[in-house]
């Protein structure tokens, strides 16, 4: 029984083992580099060791301030990203379906798109009355364009034969939109959402570091100012974990929504 299970899942087991080994090696290398304060082009003199980071982690999870930083960042991500999805997806669908809308809006989007969300920070501070709003705005901008562009791309790939098939089964404009264009674009919409979630975190952390009060980006920057080196690494790792979890969440929702795609 067990040997059979091992044989059937051998590739998966190998992947898990290799992954674990590589993580352990990474931690060991980190430990040794900081333990012996290696200076070889880069300086590990002040870099906290994994043990120190673990210690500050244990302390931090009992600290309501740290948890509040995390909660605030998550709230900003949730607001900015949701707004981007709520605006970007419908706009992309409408632009993809109606040429006139596309021709009118696309040039503006193309001009604004290359501007990195971080470059919007001064403008956002001027535009929005509160700091909180400008940070959410920057998070929104970061994820908006990947979502819009990927939705548009999905719409441009809709198979015209499927539209014809729907038409001669009696589908009208609205039904074709709902039953053909939308589901056909969904895989690309979710690609856009996944990419958009990543860029949302990038933008959020930058905005928090520059203009923030609270938030995990602010926490990381503050740790540097206060010379709490272990907290810098803790902040970085926390950002990484949060980014990973939110991407997984988007992907998980995607597989739930699109049961026809191969897992």
């Amino acid at each position: 029984m067990l040997s059979r299970w091992i044989r059937l899942n051998s590739e998966r087991i190998r992947a898990v083992l290799l992954g674990a080994i590589s993580l352990v090696l990474f931690l060991a290398a980190w430990h040794l580099l900081t333990r012996y304060r290696v200076v070889f082009f880069v300086r590990f003199t002040n870099v906290p060791s994994p043990i120190a980071v673990y210690a500050s982690f244990v302390k931090a999870i009992h600290d309501p301030h740290f948890l509040m930083h995390i909660a605030l960042s998550c709230r900003r991500i949730f607001l900015g990203f949701s707004l981007a999805a709520l605006v970007g997806v419908p706009l992309g669908l409408v632009m993809g379906r109606f040429r006139l809308v596309h021709e009118a809006i696309f040039p503006v989007a193309e001009v604004l798109r290359p501007i990195p969300a971080i470059a919007w920070v001064p403008m956002a501070i001027m535009l929005w009355p509160s700091n909180e709003q400008s940070i959410v705005f920057i998070t929104f901008l970061g994820s908006f364009f990947p979502i819009l562009v990927n939705t548009l791309h999905g719409m441009s790939l809709v198979d015209p034969v499927l539209v014809r098939a729907a038409q001669c089964l009696g589908a009208r404009e609205r039904a074709i939109f709902r039953e053909v264009y939308f589901p056909s674009s969904l895989p690309h919409i979710f690609t856009g959402l996944t990419v958009g979630m990543g860029v949302a975190w990038v933008s959020l952390i930058a905005a928090e570091m520059i203009s923030g009060q609270y938030g995990i980006g602010y926490f990381t920057w503050e740790a540097y100012s206060l010379v709490q080196y272990a907290d810098i690494a803790l902040g970085m790792i926390t950002i990484g974990v949060l980014g990973l979890l939110s991407s997984l969440l988007v992907r998980g929702i995607g597989t739930l929504v699109m049961p026809w795609g191969r897992a």
């Binding site: 014809r164 098939a165 729907a166 001669c168 089964l169 009696g170 589908a171 039953e179 699109m258 026809w260």
Partner: protein, 290 residues
């Protein structure tokens, strides 16, 4: 179940003085000219012709996807003004909705018509049963073989009870054995439903085996070159394809199409010119030698 029961024959398709051309930079290019065809209620009619002759164009105009440049398409006296569920269509590429299960695909037309969920589920199950697909109702199309996909395609087109079934080289992508089975299934369904069928194919055997009548089209710009009644008795068996009657029909159609195919390719192959052309390359490139 009212959707699949026999009813008084309907589905009289008429195409009169039909022409269709495309606008290009160099002017209008004619795809189909001076074409008249008809399908009587309950009749099975095929269109064959060399590739590019406009047979699919003609079918797409009957479906309502293309507007004729001249002439008119009517079904039971009513002018065709765009696609509608009264003309069901089966495509060569199956074109099942990949995000819908087999049953949901079959239900689609009924859903568009506003039938409630439980009713259309029942109708879809019955139809899938007729096609031997009940075990696959919950599968997504990408898990099915080509033959199964096209069976779903046919069932989906029939579910709304169309007056006419239009098929655009539906078995062109299938292997020979599957194709024979599919022809049998289509014949069975057609005989049960007594529906009018307009069938486009480049396969002469298929056209003769299935049809009451076959239209043969000329090379581009396409028009009707000949109309051939197929007097073979029904129900038709595979073995009939060896009968002298069948073979005679086949020979006749073959020579008609061969003529047109050669025209489409720009005339007979010039044998004497080929013999005069005796190029020896001796390691040179063709461009150098010429």
């Amino acid at each position: 179940m009212s959707t699949v029961e026999a009813r008084p024959p309907q589905g009289h398709v008429e195409v009169r003085n039909f022409a269709l051309s495309y606008e290009t930079i160099d002017g209008a290019v004619s795809a189909v000219t001076e074409t008249d065809i008809h399908v009587k209620p309950g009749e099975f009619v095929s269109i064959v012709g060399p590739s590019g002759c406009g047979k699919s164009t003609l079918l797409n105009a009957v479906a309502g996807f293309l507007k004729p440049t001249a002439g008119v398409v009517t079904v039971d006296g009513e002018k065709v003004n765009g696609p509608s569920a009264e003309r069901g269509m089966v495509f060569q590429q199956y074109s099942l909705f990949p995000w819908k299960t087999v049953r949901e695909n079959v239900e689609f037309g009924l859903k568009m018509r506003g039938m409630d969920r439980s009713q259309r589920e029942r109708a879809a199950r019955t139809l899938l049963g007729l096609a031997g697909l009940e075990a696959f109702e919950k599968h997504y199309p990408d898990r099915l073989s080509g033959g199964m996909k096209q069976r779903v395609g046919i069932v989906r087109a029939l579910a709304t009870g169309p007056k006419v079934l239009l098929l655009d080289e539906p078995f062109g992508a299938l292997d020979a054995q599957t194709r024979v089975i599919m022809q049998q299934i289509l014949t069975n369904m057609w005989q049960r439903l007594r529906i009018s069928v307009l069938f486009v194919t480049h396969d002469i055997d298929e056209a003769i085996f299935l049809s009451d009548r076959v239209y043969c089209m000329t090379a581009r710009p396409g028009s009707i070159k000949a109309e051939i009644p197929i007097p073979l008795e029904r129900p038709r068996q595979q073995s009939m394809m060896m009968s002298s009657e069948f073979l005679a029909l086949r020979r006749g159609l073959m020579s008609l199409i061969r003529e047109e195919s050669l025209k489409a390719m720009g005339g007979e192959i010039n044998d004497s010119a080929m013999q005069g052309l005796n190029i020896e390359l001796h390691g040179h490139s063709l461009a150098e030698v010429l």
